[in-house]
């Protein structure tokens, strides 16, 4: 067997020889008949009844955590962390754990399908050569300007490949979108980095070694940027350094799970994060005796205190703490950046780091160097996506390929994306599931799920060194799915000509190997002197990374100059919805368990209680006890939430740690498609968001106001916390 196809062959054999094991049931029946099928040819590394472990990369969010998956006789049994991997360091989050339920999900598409009428859900199976023909015709018979690719934030190798294809065709580079990127405010953070440090990437915060961490709405133990890495860092911040217990201060209007772990929590008024950071900065500068110009000059601390709700006394005390600590870091989190003044907030918060000169230091802020495979393509801004929607509406887009994201569900309804799809003559979705977007496509050519796929993820943040994380199939594809890269390459090869010459790869694996050639001979966690050794090590280790921690320090001088030129008067956050009609701020946040909603059809994610509310299998609206009293609603009441952009119904959870002028709804539920466990459950708060942007063009997702009206109906939320006795003592009360 040649090196090139050995793994594929091997996986085919796994499928052919899958051992029929006994149906697992509690008791043996006297009459059952068990048969056993040995392999016709024993695959490499396989022993009957003995586990085989494969290193791969999680695709449940863009962080790029390294996994080691336990397989037994061709079945993926258990996801474990890859101990050598710089991001996950041997651990996983709940979503990563449940990725086996993505793999074996009963609602996955089983083959390529044609949908004669969009939205009908009536699929006609089609053979893969016909499916490839569809892609081939679409690419060959349309003006390159009228072809658009919309990709997700995972599978960087696919983004790289599509970039090569579009460049060769003369089409626009692919758009990249994911709700997690949008709700992390990644674009705003990147833009702030560009303006301050001239670096087009995301920063890395070394909270593990920080004595004092100020987090402005960064829910970094839940979903923000790289939760497994930052949760590990949180643990080490508390107990990693002997004799030191890091101190965490969180500023956010609604207590996140991260905020619940903070030593001090300040429920500041939404949109005043920039003011708080500015006031703290001015006081810090004063304390450490550096002259203030620009952003931190002439700051009215009293006004900031009044606006934000943090007392002047607290501001002074916190500033002293920050100034006097040896290692301190301020994190501009999603909650702070999701406002119309989000970019200013990002600059002001990063300004705190610049003031105390923690750049590139232990317990400070660093930047990720460019990897040998180039930088990660950052998500498209909402501006880009809005222009895509306009082009779709004006008929300029004839073909739209969608992979790895679910924009009909994840983009605010106000963006008009769903309607614009109707104006695109050909929509091809590569989704593994019949999700909301795939249901609006003419063809669904399902890609493999993460555990069946080849690929790589270029870790763009949250690692202490350059990290390339590899994906390899741990089992044969469960369904008749095909890698999107293979489909595109097959189409490109069939078109032939210049295009095939410029994109000369035979298949996905050949493409990845070609990209990896630059790593041959490079010193890293391992060094491989030839391509075959590199490939073997790459798959065995789970990627390629530097042998030592190595990040780059941002340029302080440039950053100081920028801050000095920044005017001190910052624009106030603007909100959609008149305050009199819509009195409440709406905060949407990705559910810690369901993420952007793609996990909603994994039953064990549905049944994993939410960390803060312990609710399972549903979504809810968090309302402060004072507001609940005022509105006359209580737990489990259904209310109608209305914004200038839309309206949804949600079940009340009286949440004791939220501002009375703010309500919060997690993102992730409210699916109308996707599968049996996801459908018709909870609400999708993204439908409420109005389109407001910050200066970087990112969605200001916290800038919509809402009003709430009781409906008089009730729905009992399933909660873990009610379970007092084994048999649920309080249920007598609830169901009386």
């Amino acid at each position: 067997m040649s090196q090139q196809i050995s793994r594929r062959e091997f996986l085919k054999l796994l499928g052919a020889g899958a051992v029929t094991t006994a149906a697992l049931s509690g008791c043996a029946s006297a009459t059952r008949l068990v048969k056993r099928e040995p392999y016709t040819s024993m695959p490499e590394y396989t022993l009957p009844g003995t586990s085989t472990y494969y290193a791969t990369t999680c695709r449940e969010c863009p962080a790029g955590c390294g996994l080691v998956v336990r397989t037994v006789e061709g079945r993926a049994i258990k996801v474990e962390g890859n101990p050598a991997h710089p991001v996950s360091q041997g651990h996983t989050c709940a979503r990563g754990q449940a990725s086996v339920q993505t793999l074996y999900n009963p609602d996955r598409l089983q083959n390529a399908v044609r949908q004669a009428q969009r939205g009908s859900g009536k699929f006609d199976p089609m053979p893969w050569d016909e499916a490839i023909q569809v892609v081939q015709d679409a690419l060959a018979n349309n003006d390159p300007d009228s072809i658009a690719f919309l990709l997700g934030l995972e599978s960087d190798h696919l983004a790289d490949l599509v970039n090569e294809i579009t460049a060769a065709m003369g089409a626009r580079a692919p758009y990249r979108f994911g709700a997690l990127g949008m709700l992390d405010a990644r674009n705003t953070l990147v833009m702030a980095n560009v303006l301050l440090f001239g670096h087009p990437g995301l920063p890395v915060f070394d909270i593990a070694h920080a004595e004092v961490t100020f987090s402005f709405g960064a829910n970094f133990t839940e979903t923000w940027l790289s939760p497994v890495f930052y949760t590990g860092a949180y643990g080490n911040m508390r107990k990693g350094t002997p004799g030191q217990r890091g101190y965490l201060v969180q500023f956010e209007p609604r207590m996140s799970q991260t905020g619940a772990n903070a030593d001090e929590w300040y429920p500041i008024k939404p949109g005043t994060e920039a003011l708080v950071a500015q006031a703290l900065g001015a006081l810090v500068a004063e304390e450490i005796g550096i002259p203030t110009e620009g952003l931190f000059a002439d700051v009215d601390v009293a006004a900031a205190a009044r606006e934000s709700g943090v007392s002047e006394e607290d501001l002074h005390r916190l500033a002293m703490m920050f100034a006097q600590s040896q290692r301190r870091v301020a994190i501009p989190g999603a909650g702070a950046l999701g406002h119309t003044n989000g970019l200013d907030a990002a600059k002001a918060i990063m300004g705190l780091n610049i003031l105390v000169e923690n750049l590139g230091k232990s317990g400070g802020v660093s930047l990720m160097p460019e990897s040998a495979l180039g930088n990660t393509q950052m998500p498209s801004t909402l501006n880009d996506l809005t222009s895509l929607v306009e082009k779709m509406n004006s008929g300029k887009i004839k073909v739209l390929f969608i992979h790895g994201c679910n924009p009909v569900f994840e983009l605010p309804a106000a963006s008009g994306f769903a309607d614009a799809l109707q104006n695109v003559p050909l929509v091809v979705a590569f989704s593994s599931f019949p999700d909301e977007t795939a249901l609006q496509a003419d063809f669904i050519l399902p890609d493999h799920t993460g555990l069946e796929a080849w690929g790589y993820q270029k870790v763009s943040t949250a690692s202490d060194r350059i990290t390339l994380s590899s994906l390899q199939p741990v089992v044969v594809p469960v369904q008749d799915t095909r890698a999107t890269a293979d489909v595109l390459l097959a189409a490109v090869q069939a078109i032939g000509g210049d295009l095939a010459k410029q994109v000369p790869y035979e298949n996905e694996v050949a493409f990845i190997k070609a990209k990896l050639e630059v790593l041959v001979g490079e010193d890293g966690y391992y060094a491989a002197s030839d391509a075959n050794t590199l490939w073997a090590r790459w798959l065995q280790v789970g990627g390629w990374w530097d042998s030592d921690a190595l990040l780059i320090a941002p340029d302080l001088t440039h950053a100081v100059e920028v801050l000095q030129k920044q005017p001190s008067a910052l624009p106030a956050a603007a909100f959609s919805g008149d305050e009199a009609e819509y009195p409440l701020h709406l905060l949407v946040y990705p559910s810690p368990n369901l993420g952007d909603g793609r996990g909603a059809n994994n039953p064990w994610l549905q049944e994993t209680p939410d960390p803060m509310t312990t609710v399972m299998w549903n979504s809810w609206i968090e309302i402060s006890p004072d507001l609940a009293l005022e509105l006359g609603v209580c737990d489990d009441d259904i209310v109608r939430v209305t914004s200038p952009a839309g309206s949804v119904e949600a079940v009340v959870y009286v949440y004791p740690a939220i501002r009375p002028d703010t309500v919060a709804i997690p993102v992730g539920q409210g699916h109308t498609a996707l599968g049996r466990y996801a459908r018709n459950r909870g609400c999708n708060p993204l439908q409420l968001l109005d389109i407001q942007k910050d200066a970087s063009g990112n969605l200001a997702f916290a800038a919509t106001r809402v009003k709430i009206e009781p409906t008089g109906r009730k729905h009992q939320l399933a909660r873990m916390e009610d379970r007092v006795g084994v048999y649920g003592d309080r249920y007598g009360e609830l169901y009386r």
Binding site: T258, M616, A718
Partner: protein, 237 residues
């Protein structure tokens, strides 16, 4: 019954590292073939979680916080569940010094659950379904429990036995940290540490001697094998 229970396997949970992220809950369920019950049954309190994270609100807005504590079977040295089982389905393993549930003996009286002060036991009210091909994910080392049977955390006994078997086959002792239950392995904050309490040099023993160590309902004399390290000290300033 001896005054102090013998020691072997034990677990330390550092509440200062734990931040309530639920990775352990999902990891446990997937390792141990724990059934998912759906919204209605979950609302009735029939959820089968072997480990849960107890969330406690403390204080009042705005001076409010939440604390988290993962709770599973505490593997009592003197377990209240054991003497009440009429069929010896729950018993104390002399070899492993943990509390074991034998599914094929259990007749579902639920006496054990009633007598457990930690609410650590869950009862299979129904046969839970894994629609195809979801059943492919089931761990072949763990029995799939059927209706009418009590179940609970086993400290991942299948992993303990696998580790011991491997060590024996290779003619060596089990190394510290070699055996990890699914929860400890998943925990991104490294809050859960598992090991041999009988070995004074093991990581779990060293942590268990911390001044922050506490046990749940220690006054009951249950001699639990799960030791919590108190957290959040700076909050109490």
């Amino acid at each position: 019954m001896s005054e102090t229970a013998q020691e072997k396997w034990g677990m330390v949970i550092d509440l200062d590292r734990c931040n309530g992220c639920q990775a352990c809950v999902t990891a446990c369920s997937l390792e141990n073939n724990v059934g998912f019950v759906g919204e209605e049954s979950a609302a009735y309190g029939r959820g089968m979680h072997w480990i849960r994270i107890q969330r406690y609100w403390e204080g009042e807005y705005p001076n409010i916080t939440a604390r988290f504590r993962p709770v599973m079977c505490q593997q009592c040295g003197h377990a209240p569940c054991e003497p009440v089982c009429p069929v010896f389905a729950t018993y104390h393993s002399e070899a492993e010094q943990i509390n074991v549930q034998v599914y094929n003996r259990c007749i579902g009286t639920r006496y054990c659950a009633n007598n457990c002060p930690y609410v650590a036991r869950t009862f299979n009210w129904f046969d839970w379904e894994w629609p195809e091909p979801l059943n492919e994910q089931l761990n072949p080392d763990v029995t799939v429990r059927r209706r009418g049977i009590m179940e609970k955390c086993t400290f991942c006994i299948q992993r303990i036995r696998k580790g011991e078997e491997d060590a024996e086959a290779e003619g060596r002792e089990v190394a510290d940290g070699e055996i990890q239950p699914a929860c400890a392995q998943a925990c991104p904050a490294d809050a859960i540490v598992f090991g041999n309490l009988a070995d004074p040099e093991s990581r779990v023993s060293r942590l268990a001697r911390s001044a922050r160590a506490e046990k749940l309902l220690e006054e009951l004399g249950t001699e639990t094998k799960v030791i919590y390290l108190k957290g959040g000290s700076s909050r109490d300033r």
